[in-house]
Subunit: 451 residues, 2 copies
């Protein structure tokens, strides 16, 4: 995303010590834009540019760099400078970065961070990755129920500088139990004398601190909130998750699903940022698993070697039969995996899904079988011999849709990610089944023909 | 997502004419929750339940039903009731629904809708699907630049009931040109006498009304806004897109990508909601295309029929070679497609991507080749003969990574969706190339061995 056009200009401004110009770039543009423009600078240059802005602004821009650049910047900064920046960063961005640093670096930096912030960091770092706790920020606006709307706005003015999000204000009792929330919109529209208790929504949709981020994203997408409160086991407010973090989660989860469907372990880092060794191991593991699955086809074919000696033309259709079964299996698996992820179908629907896929397999199989018959006539010695191909295709396609729909459902049932049952794996299983079906159909139809 | 537990209770309340109880359910819970609870009711029952709530609330709940239920509800409602509801619905939700109705139904309903709303509807309906214009709402808060923060808040109190989102206020001149924006947070924190012109951010990130929704989602994810302004060709504000609509777009686009990667035309409707005929045509089209691709393998094999007569054991490895090439191609295609969608790589990176994939193919191919050698020794007559398998696997895997990475890049270059170059299609091409490589390696190594 870096825009390289401005790099020479920026370097010139650095060289000429154009403090005023740099300060303008840093403060007038959106921090994400500044991050894009400066991404291509070296670590040392970036620090020199950033130092022209107030510390709070530096922290904002810094958070918009990709994590690998942030990590490199930490290595290139003094401990004092970095700990000051950490104090200014939003709690969720700060924890994102710290999770990607070596433990020794973190232990060197933390003692320099102010005590309150340090406590907050340790707390957030303790939540498991991909949980609501790891995603949330601890900067939110809260109020007791008994204040009036007018007082509430006055108090917000004091809380605002420390809160990422002041458009929803959470109403808490003395023990921080979540009683309800009011929107800033409601406060502005209400008479100043109205009590917050009478304005607030009591049916609060919240997430538990240990819930998975996928569940957080699902709720946020359903309820259209700007932020969602995160509570502990006793309904005490511990943080909030904001809309922008949820968009990132939805993207991440979608890419993870796509990677699993495509037959590789999710990278979790950008394509270009992934070191070649990590990349080859994440791909190699799955390729090897799939290789051993495909290996079974050699044994299956070995079983039926006689068939090929007697009816040599059967060889020609091996890849076609195998690919067609795999393709129909892929389609079913993709549909069922995405529908399970979005909540479009649930496990309770298993019977309807399988019935649907069975029917679909027969319809699609019949259509492709007709095409297959046409082709088989070109190569098979007799009309009767050719029938082996359409019959096999029909059976293999139906088998593909069944395997493709049942395996993800079984995986979800076992509590595993259905996308683990990646498409190539489905295809691998259908390949073997396809060969067994092909060879048996041939034996059945051709032997009787010979006899 | 429907929660069937409450259905009998709701029906009982209807039967007993428990107006008070129904009204409480309808107004105290989040409209999305009410929609979930009542989704399982019949159309007639749903209308009876809804009628207990004020019209504005009815419109909110109605918008949370899945589109097929909304369409069914329109059919079951009188024209008067439906046009009154349409007037109350948010402009973006209203247009979503109308796009899914038959044109005659729309033309019956529109004349009953108030003139201002009708004009707005016609305008929004005119934007192409999946464009920023089709996604936006026309209810936003705006101000002239010269008012003070205090006046601004007073004006907002008047605009708020008609605006979906009052947390960003757009600053316009007399011709509605977009000059900047100010957040409600800034207004609340500012001294009441400060001019909006001095508070506002002038570096506005906006989208053009004809931009693709994928681009909208990318900008929104990058800049973390709650809403983004939509402008026409002359930078005049025509609407805004809110964060919740963007989450939906990100999910939709991700599912579309997954469906294309999985080798079928995107459904755009839920799995269970898609009629069997639509489903079989969306799947059948791709299965047929892929079938004809796979068909080429029969002709490729026919070319080399002699090989199988001379060295029968070669047959055993056909599916293995073909599947391994396809799997490595799938991995590359998935990685490149997702990286292009997220903007993680751009077309300018093509050379680095291909170099990376070439290297990756050689590393992975060498690894799998070693495994292949082990297996080949079990079946091949001599050590020399067995070498055909590892050499083929190395070449085929490398070929797979190259085809898998180059095809999506070429598609993007041609202005087409790279995900169209679905994984099964990549696999299909690699299958044919794989057979040609296999047969030629065999001819080269085995003929010289014989000679």
């Amino acid at each position: 995303m870096a825009n390289p056009i401005l790099l020479p200009e920026l370097r010139l401004m650095l060289e000429e010590n154009d403090d005023l110009g740099l300060r303008e770039v840093l403060t007038e543009l959106h921090p994400a834009t500044v991050a894009d423009f400066t991404e291509g600078l070296t670590v040392e240059e970036t620090w020199r540019v950033l130092s022209r802005a107030p510390l709070a602004r530096q922290a904002e821009i810094f958070s918009y760099y990709p994590i690998p650049k942030q990590v490199a910047m930490v290595e290139g900064a003094g401990r004092e400078r970095m700990s000051a920046l950490l104090e200014e960063m939003a709690p969720d961005n700060r924890v994102d970065l710290l999770q990607h640093l070596d433990d020794e670096v973190v232990e060197e930096l933390l003692p320099l961070v102010a005590k309150a912030e340090r406590h907050d960091i340790r707390q957030l770092l303790s939540y498991p990755e991909q949980s609501a706790g790891a995603l949330m920020t601890t900067e939110y606006a809260s109020l007791p129920a008994e204040v009036t709307a007018g007082e509430a706005i006055a108090r917000l003015r004091q809380q605002a500088p420390d809160s990422e999000m002041i458009y929803y204000i959470y109403v808490l009792d003395d023990q921080r139990h979540l009683l309800g929330f009011v929107s800033l919109r409601d406060l502005i529209l209400a008479k100043p004398s109205t009590r917050v208790a009478d304005l607030m929504t009591r049916d609060v949709i919240s997430v538990r601190v240990d819930e998975d981020q996928e569940e957080v994203a699902r709720k946020m997408a359903r309820y259209d909130f700007i932020a969602m409160p995160v509570v502990d086991g006793e309904n005490r407010l511990v943080g909030i998750i904001t809309h922008d973090d949820v968009i990132d989660v939805v993207r991440e989860e979608a890419i993870e699903d796509a990677h699993r469907i495509g037959g590789l372990a999710p990278l979790n880092t950008g394509y270009m940022q992934t070191p070649l060794l990590t990349m080859s191991s994440k791909r190699g593991v799955w390729l090897t698993i799939l290789f051993f699955t495909a290996l079974l086809t050699t044994f299956a074919l070995k079983e039926y070697e006689d068939n090929f000696e007697r009816w040599g033309w059967l060889v020609l259709f091996v890849p076609l039969v195998v690919a067609t079964g795999g393709n129909s299996g892929n389609q079913s698996a993709t549909l069922v995996i995405t529908a399970l992820t979005t909540g479009d179908i649930t496990l309770r629907d298993w019977f309807r899904v399988i019935r649907r896929e069975l029917l679909m397999g027969m319809v699609l199989g019949a259509g492709l079988g007709v095409l297959g018959m046409g082709i088989a006539l070109l190569h098979a010695p007799t009309y009767w011999d050719a029938v082996v191909v359409p019959v096999t295709i029909m059976l293999v396609v139906t088998c593909g849709t069944l395997v493709g729909s049942i395996l993800p459902i079984i995986f979800r049932r076992l509590g595993l990610d259905p996308a683990l049952m990646s498409n190539p794996f489905v295809a691998g299983i259908v390949d073997i089944v396809g060969i067994v079906i092909y060879m048996n159909v041939a034996l059945l139809l051709l032997s009787s023909g010979d006899g």
